[in-house]
């Protein structure tokens, strides 16, 4: 049912495209309002030019022509995408890119039937508007760790593999053309090498489109994808090199040497340009705490400028974009608000999705539109040579690479890498850019490239999923890292660095450690605002997990029970630091529930802020809520015991909200209500406190700690919630209790913590969810 309506809408849209274009073209370049469209018919009988009746309704298409058409195309693309997901059976067999190309073909066909000239994928539009969002999306969310671990392999495939492909295909095609003679005779060596270099590059758009749907394991994904990104430099250099010299006809050794130098300049230059813009963006984001709304804009504009600047100098724009995104990401994410992060993520995904849809549709349309010259031998041999070159290249390179890898690539991996070498729109656009004068066989090239693209996208794209299943290739593991893994991996990193130092070997870990140290010492201080610069990665990770759990707890805590059962815990949660940048999977709460939560948060936060504002760093000598803190601990301990009893009774694995009428819980809740003890401690703000108060309390606190540690059988969730609560509030009490010898240096961080907490930050009212409350 929905499908039929959907198709109807789409047909109407497409239908509206034609007459509009027909109308506009037949009207020529008409300018004035009055003479257009309907008005024309109405006034045709009226010959007096002096006074016409006032035009109530006029039709002026040219005025809005360009944006209107662009919007129509974008709308069409989005509706197509929507449509495919309404047909689940199709989308599981055929990858989206194939369906989109088919749609493009249909539209192109329709347009041709109507007599319209279907638009071709303009290279300018493609390179300047359609490609950057996709690459930025890929670069910003590039998984850095697997990328750097496999960088050597990726570079080998990208550089050496592409060069091999280019020369193999180009050379063999030249041979074929020479052998064939007639009609192909004008393909000289340089032209065929140029063609080879264009067609040999694996296309990131196509790879992303297909690989995203098959959920292959991280290693293979990053290998193929990384290769598709990094081979841009090679393609750029080879393209310019051959294009430049085709008019002349020969290349000599100096040119080759210059080509190599050019390659280094193009790739490194692109990376440097990207890194500069990335650092600028990170630096800018440091100061945006007052104007959160435009934070995403900085990210997008700086990245786009990086791309354009690189293209300005004919450097590799793709590498610049990747470098920019990868460099700026850790610093920007530490600085920007949660909302900005979500905005950036969704905008990038949206733009890249639309771009990618448009690209494939246009590919289809251009196929129908573009001038074609079909030559069986050329096209078929191109396809065959491409496949053969890819397979040979991958096998040969893997053989060499495996000597240097710790985790070797198996033949299954090699097959997937070879099979995943898809060609796409970049190749098409590059051929389209060729000058007809210098390259009379351009149309033949176009046809051949389109055939190769279709072959790879349709045949390889459609069959890769069943092949992956057939070969039982490892899929992407869906589970996230546990905190154990995080801690132990860090531990192992330190261990390996230590062992490398003992061996006297400056290996992988040594340099990584040095880089991290440099990063922490200098770079983070410059680029990250405020106290976030000192937060170690493990803590950020831990916060993230706690937050997630807390949210899950809130959601599972039950609807009506939510307000009554959770006030104390939620208020404590709000003192927690800024929500973690990565991986914020906020659950879907109903509107009413959300409103309840918001109200609770608002009221409790106000209380929190009141409490915090009532003392500042100047009057604060000793932590005034030190005694309140111990009370909280005691209350919490009681709550935990109660919950333990409840869960033992109910055999739940998650903690249900305790029944609201339980008297002990109610008492505990009220007693631990922040406002209650908060006010008390303010009035008590006696600076002369309690170095001695600490001691009588310390045995008690010690008991509390021991109690806390005996939580073995407790249900996991409640524990985490409690632990999430214990985490934030700093406590000099605990420090003193532990009787550490090096207490002096504890004082300094404590002062710092207090300063942070007492200063709620600017514009705290609207920004309460976003403002980092930092330890």
């Amino acid at each position: 049912m929905e499908l039929k309506m959907f198709i109807l809408v789409v047909v109407l849209l497409v239908g509206s495209l034609m007459p509009l274009r027909g109308a506009s073209s037949s009207l020529g370049t008409g300018t004035t309002h009055d003479n257009h469209g309907l008005q024309n018919h109405q006034n045709s009988s009226d010959t007096t030019p002096s006074k016409k009746p006032f035009p109530v309704l006029s039709f002026d298409y040219d005025h809005v022509r360009t944006p209107f058409e662009i919007s129509l195309w974008v709308l069409l693309a989005s509706l197509m995408k929507l449509g495919f997901h309404l047909i689940p059976s199709m989308s599981s067999i055929v990858p989206e890119s194939c369906l989109l190309i088919v749609v493009g073909l249909l539209i192109g066909g329709l347009m041709k039937l109507v007599g319209e000239n279907p638009p071709v994928l303009e290279s300018n539009i493609f390179f300047l508007y359609l490609l950057p969002p996709i690459i930025l999306d890929a670069g910003y969310f590039l998984p850095i760790r697997p990328f750097t671990e496999n960088l050597g392999t990726i570079l080998m495939f990208a550089v050496v593999g592409t060069l091999w492909n280019a020369f193999f295909v180009g050379g063999l095609l030249y041979g074929v053309c020479q052998l064939e003679g007639h009609r192909l005779g004008n393909v000289d060596l340089l032209s065929s090498l140029l063609f080879g270099s264009i067609i040999s590059a694996v296309d990131p758009v196509a790879v992303l489109a297909v690989f995203e749907e098959i959920h292959i394991n991280e290693l293979l994904h990053i290998l193929v994808f990384g290769e598709s990104l990094l081979n841009d430099a090679v393609t750029v250099v080879l393209y310019h090199l051959f294009e430049e010299y085709t008019s002349v006809g020969t290349i000599n050794v100096t040119d080759v040497f210059l080509g190599i130098v050019c390659f280094l300049v193009v790739s490194l230059g692109g990376i440097v340009v990207g890194a500069i813009y990335g650092i600028l963006a990170a630096f800018t984001s440091r100061f945006t705490s007052h104007l959160r709304v435009i934070e995403p804009l900085f990210v997008f504009v700086y990245s786009y400028m990086a791309y354009l600047s690189a293209e300005l100098f004919h450097l590799s724009g793709i590498m610049a974009l990747i470098a920019c995104g990868a460099v700026m990401r850790p610093y920007v994410e530490a600085n920007i608000s949660h909302k900005s992060h979500t905005t950036i993520k969704y905008f990038l995904k949206m733009w890249s999705s639309v771009s990618d849809t448009l690209i494939f549709i246009f590919l289809g349309v251009s196929t129908v539109a573009g001038p074609h010259e079909w030559n069986w031998i050329f096209v078929v041999s191109t396809v065959i040579f491409c496949l053969v070159a890819r397979v040979l290249g991958v096998v040969g390179l893997t053989f060499m690479i495996n000597k240097f890898r710790i985790v070797k690539l198996t033949s299954k991996d090699q097959f997937i890498i070879a099979y995943g070498g898809l060609r796409g729109a970049i190749a098409f656009s590059l051929v389209y850019l060729l000058n007809e004068v210098h390259f009379p066989m351009r149309n033949m090239f176009l046809t051949a490239i389109i055939t190769v693209i279709f072959f790879t996208v349709f045949v390889q794209g459609m069959t890769i999923r069943p092949l992956v299943d057939l070969l039982a290739v490892k899929k992407k593991q869906e589970t996230k890292r546990s905190i154990n893994e995080e801690i132990h991996t860090q531990f192992l990193d330190h261990l390996l660095t230590g062992i490398e130092d003992i061996c006297g070997h400056y290996g992988h870990h040594h340099w990584k450690d040095k880089l991290n140290r440099f990063n922490k010492k200098y770079v983070k201080k410059c680029l990250i605002a405020g106290e976030r610069s000192k937060e170690p990665q493990l803590i950020a990770f831990y916060h993230k997990m706690e937050m997630k759990q807390a949210i899950e707890l809130v959601e599972s805590g039950g609807g009506s029970k939510l307000p009554s059962a959770m006030p104390s815990t939620i208020s404590m949660q709000n003192i927690q630091p800024k929500k973690p940048p990565q991986d914020r999977a906020l659950p879907q709460l109903s509107k009413a529930r959300e409103e309840e939560i918001r109200k609770i948060l608002r009221t409790n936060l106000q209380r929190t802020r009141q409490r915090l504002r009532s003392y500042n760093r100047h009057t604060l000598v000793v932590d005034p809520y030190e005694d309140g803190w111990n009370e909280i601990l005691i209350k919490k301990k009681k709550m935990m015991e109660l919950e333990k009893k409840i869960s033992q009774m109910n055999n739940y694995l998650t903690v249900p909200a305790p029944p609201p009428d339980s008297p002990t819980i109610a008492r505990a809740r009220l007693a631990s209500d922040p406002q209650a003890w908060g006010m008390k401690s303010v009035t008590e703000s006696i600076p002369t406190i309690k170095v001695d108060l600490a001691s009588p309390q310390s045995p008690e606190s010690v008991n509390v700690v021991d109690e806390l540690s005996k939580k073995g059988s407790q249900p996991k969730v409640s524990d985490e919630e409690e632990d999430g609560l214990t985490m934030k509030v700093p406590s000099p009490v605990k420090q003193r209790k532990d009787k550490k010898p090096d207490e002096e240096d504890d004082k300094e961080p404590q002062q710092r913590f207090m300063r942070c907490l007492s200063d709620p930050g600017p514009a705290a009212e609207e920004e309460d969810e976003d403002e980092p409350f930092l330890p």
Binding site: S482, N484, E485, L495, I499, D501, Y542, L708, K710
Partner: protein
């Protein structure tokens, strides 16, 4: 080659060493040179101060534990054999080695690597990582940047996640299980020692 042979001969029981650890002669020589460089006084064995002289190791948060791992309990010196045996843990795993049914597990097997790492956590050698031991490690790694509460919360959370038999400590099996997704062969290997 003559000089290398003579160096090899100087090392006592070098054949046994090579067989046990799987190092090639070139590696043994390289490690021997390093051993001699660390052993500044030429005594033929190393003591903790020699390790302490490596300045990068001093900056390592778990540097002293690593140094401690080289010395078996009670001994104050480590000779070349022990030195090489410990380092053998970090050799990359030979996937193509034929599995002889009766031979003992090689030192650089995944299991032994994990055992080595486990021992670095478990200082009192009771076979479990208790909460305190975990806290000590966390404190060493995270240092002054975090509060005691955070450390304790993290430690509690870690133990909770890994502890399957609810004894409030992480045994070796639980440790191994929590790292099953991590590629230990890759993570705990130094290419240089292949």
């Amino acid at each position: 080659m003559g000089s290398t042979n003579s160096t090899l001969l100087k090392i006592p029981n070098v054949e046994v060493l090579m067989q046990e650890t799987g190092f090639s002669p070139a590696h043994i020589i390289r490690l021997h040179d390093r051993f001699k460089a660390l052993d500044k006084e030429g005594r033929g064995y190393l003591c903790p101060q020699d390790f302490g002289a490596i300045k990068e190791l001093a900056m390592n948060p778990i540097g002293d534990r690593i140094i401690g791992a080289f010395f078996s309990p009670g001994k104050e010196t480590v000779d070349f054999h022990a030195f090489v045996k410990i380092l053998a843990h970090f050799r990359p795993v030979d996937k193509d080695r034929p599995k002889e049914p009766n031979s003992p597990e090689p030192i650089n097997s995944r299991s032994n690597k994990l055992k080595f790492a486990f021992q670095l956590y478990d200082q009192d050698k009771d076979g479990k990582i208790s909460r305190d031991e975990l806290l000590k490690v966390l404190r060493a790694m995270l240092g002054m940047q975090v509060t005691e509460e955070q450390l304790e919360s993290i430690a509690d959370r870690t133990i909770q996640e890994a502890d399957l038999d609810r004894d409030d400590a992480i045994s070796f099996e639980e440790f191994r299980k929590s790292l099953e997704k991590v590629n230990i062969d890759h993570k705990m290997s130094i290419r240089f020692l292949r």
